[in-house]
């Protein structure tokens, strides 16, 4: 088990009170697992990702623990986290341009970075060059400034630098969102390759694009309004989602090669609730077509089928009697989540 997050709560301090962006989130990631984190904007997915590596000033750790490789990760302590950043936890930011220092050559910048982590740059230099080669960049990028590289090259450079010290956990926040399809595919396949080669042990890929996650992730965690909605292997989430929110999210994705003249897709009406004073009970109930009287209570996040956890009263009702049969059906599809 690489990462174990237990009842994590993160708030943003604002003048009007605390915005509870991550509200009691527990999950774990196995070795070699790529976990996708999906949801609408404002559901807390980026906050969750950021909190694991760098808690901004306005973010407050309210409660909960994070365990990485069996040891506690002191996410609330900026200085104590410094020992873990890049070595144990690393991040690939969305905008590769802003991640690279424009006034330093790539090699020099990397050297500074590695030294600041107390490692010897000369020792990793060989490996650095090998990986630069591996992602199809010329060796002389080390002697280039960021502005000399194209967007795709910068993205790859950033990914190599982020994973240079073989971190246990890599967090990728919307790294494929702004790219066009061919580059998107290249980056996605690179992530998988990095995992397969053991450059990183496990990964959290944050995106709102479920179709990208269906390509690269082993398991998908869907968040809604700061809470977990559903977690299962990616094939289960895509083919057999139980939470109405996941179902509607998937139902709103157009696909190439289908005609929609007769049956247009529908979006999800409404907006996610404000997290300043989150509603009681199920947070999705105002937008949910299946909401019923029980939804005023908060649904627990429970395992309804092996490896398939959902927080929804309706899904629980539907699956409660058939739980034993469903278990045998769901079993083969859910290996990724609970290995």
């Amino acid at each position: 088990m690489t990462l174990k997050v237990d009842d994590l709560r993160i708030s943003y301090r604002t003048l009007r009170g605390d915005v509870r962006a991550v509200d009691g989130v527990s999950f774990s990631i196995a070795d070699g697992e790529i976990m996708g984190l999906a949801g609408e904007s404002g559901c807390g997915k980026s906050t969750l990702g950021n909190s694991l590596i760098f808690l901004e000033g306005r973010m407050k750790h309210v409660g909960g623990t994070v365990e990485l490789d069996g040891a506690n990760l002191p996410i609330a302590d900026y200085n104590a986290m410094n020992r873990h950043r890049l070595r144990d936890v690393s991040v690939v930011p969305q905008y590769a341009m802003s991640a690279l220092n424009p006034t330093r050559k790539i090699g020099r910048m990397t050297a500074d970075l590695i030294k600041s982590r107390g490692a010897d740059y000369r020792k990793v230099l060989e490996e650095f060059k090998r990986r630069i080669d591996l992602v199809g960049l010329p060796q002389n990028v080390l002697n280039m400034y960021p502005f000399e590289l194209s967007g795709g090259m910068r993205q790859r450079t950033t990914m190599v630098i982020s994973t240079l010290l073989n971190p246990s956990l890599l967090i990728g926040d919307e790294i494929t969102s702004a790219l066009d399809v061919t580059t998107q595919r290249a980056v996605g396949e690179m992530l998988m390759e990095f995992r397969d080669r053991g450059f990183v042990k496990s990964m959290i890929v944050i995106t709102h694009d479920l179709s990208v996650l269906a390509q690269i992730a082993d398991s998908i965690l869907v968040m809604y309004a700061g809470k977990l909605a559903e977690k299962a292997s990616s094939s289960t989430i895509v083919d057999n989602p139980l939470h109405p929110y996941t179902q509607m999210l998937i139902g709103s994705l157009p696909e190439v090669g289908l005609r929609y003249d007769e049956a247009p897709l529908t979006g999800i009406p409404g907006r996610p609730p404000s997290l300043l004073n989150p509603p009681t009970g199920c947070r999705f109930k105002d937008r949910c077509p299946f909401a019923f009287d029980k939804c005023v209570e908060e649904p627990p996040f429970v395992e309804l089928r092996p490896g398939h956890e959902v927080a929804c009263w309706k899904a629980m009702d539907d699956n409660a009697p058939a739980r034993t049969e469903a278990a045998s059906q769901g079993a083969p599809a859910s290996q990724g989540a609970q290995s």
């Binding site: 795709g152 399809v181 996605g188 269906a214 999210l249 190439v256 897709l265 999800i268």
Partner: protein
């Protein structure tokens, strides 16, 4: 006669230190948009798709070719009379957050329209007009009027901008990536709205890099690569039976829910190679493809184009079994050492400073983009070269 007729439009941007470099970003693009038709313009970043949108909106002049709107060449509208053109042709852009002034309330965009186009309209009539426009984009006036932009969601903001366009007798809407900043859950609503407007007779140029969105909404699809159309026709034909290898490779790269990327293939799709080529410079600098064509024509010995042989158009032979990516080397300009100011072949340094810069006509004449071939009725494909 179509509503909008785009004929052989080329566009050259002037770049470089003192404007000494000319960059051909659109090559003889021709297609039509009819009333009540959605045409999606699909291309990678740098393919020139937004440039074409800007040209249609008269935000940027064209270098060659003509665009006729309802039979009139749009270049003939004088600056002072453009408002009559904008009465019929409007645009909505990618980033809704930067389309509003955060200091003012969002419905100020309506007031701007009023002051220019309807200065004499009374309050009551004007309100009726706004309400009917908001209704046609399915917004509740109470939800959006009198609010600041930050109080509205991205989807609401985009719909408000579309409503603004509908206040006028708009016939053509240029929608430049209007969906890409929106969440998956609100995207579909905006898309369905465009479909509704189309049924009411609005012509829409839908510019996107997302093939699945183009597939969802459009009647006709135009696929642009390096500023030239590689394939166009009815959406069903282009997506169902793609003829050009570039279209095919784009389609295989689309992430889909129920089908994983096939293969992870060893064959590098040509599309990726092309990514950086849009940055090639025509004219004074020897661009990779011109160099290549000269080599092919025997005008240059093979080594001459050497400086550019690293470029994306000539992916270095993929060697070694340990290739990580299916992509070829480095899409993008300038892998390899940057040529210094003084030693660019065929590019005396004076030229970089604008002395004796290549003239526009020469650049346009050097463009040998061939007309498209009709492979089946209503389905046009570019002749594939061996790039």
């Amino acid at each position: 006669m179509s509503m909008l007729e785009i004929e052989n439009v080329s566009k050259v941007y002037r770049t470089g230190t003192f404007g000494g470099e000319l960059k051909l970003v659109l090559r003889r693009v021709s297609f039509n948009i009819d009333r009540g038709e959605v045409v999606s313009l699909i291309g990678q970043s740098g393919s020139g798709k937004s440039t074409l949108g800007k040209i249609i909106l008269r935000l940027s002049p064209l270098s060659a070719g003509t665009i006729n709107f309802e039979g009139t060449d749009i270049a003939t509208w004088a600056k002072g009379q453009l408002r009559d053109y904008y009465r019929h042709v409007q645009g909505v852009f990618q980033d809704p957050f930067s389309s509003y002034n955060p200091l003012y309330k969002a419905d100020r965009v309506f007031e701007m329209v009023r002051s220019v186009y309807f200065p004499k309209l009374r309050g009551q009539q004007w309100h009726g007009k706004i309400e009917s426009a908001l209704e046609s984009v399915s917004l509740n006036p109470a939800d959006v009027l009198n609010k600041f932009p930050h109080q509205l969601s991205g989807g609401q903001q985009q719909r408000l901008l579309i409503a603004r366009a509908l206040l006028l007798e708009v016939k053509l809407l240029v929608a430049d990536e209007i969906i890409s900043m929106l969440d998956a859950s609100t995207r579909v609503d905006v898309l369905n709205l465009l479909v509704d407007l189309k049924r009411k007779g609005l012509g829409i140029l839908f510019i996107t890099h997302d093939l699945s969105l183009g597939n969802y909404i459009s009647d006709k699809t135009v696929i642009l690569r390096e500023g030239a159309i590689v394939e166009m026709g009815d959406t069903q034909k282009v997506f169902g039976n793609p003829q050009h290898s570039y279209t095919q490779s784009l389609l295989t790269a689309v992430p889909q829910l129920h089908r994983r990327w096939a293969g992870g293939g060893e064959r590098a799709p040509a599309s990726v190679a092309v990514n950086g080529a849009a940055n090639s410079v025509v004219g004074g600098l020897t661009p990779a493809h011109v160099a290549k064509r000269l080599v092919d024509d025997g005008a240059l010995p093979d080594g001459e184009g050497g400086r550019y042989s690293q470029s994306s158009l000539h992916p270095a032979p993929t060697s070694g079994p340990q290739k990580l990516l299916h992509t070829p080397k480095a899409p993008g300009p300038g892998p390899g050492p940057r040529p210094s100011l003084m030693d660019i072949p065929d590019q005396p340094w004076q030229r970089r400073f604008g002395f004796g810069a290549p003239n526009l006509a020469a650049v346009l004449a050097a463009d040998n983009t061939q007309p498209l071939v009709e492979c089946e009725p209503g389905h046009f494909v570019a002749v594939e070269d061996d790039l």
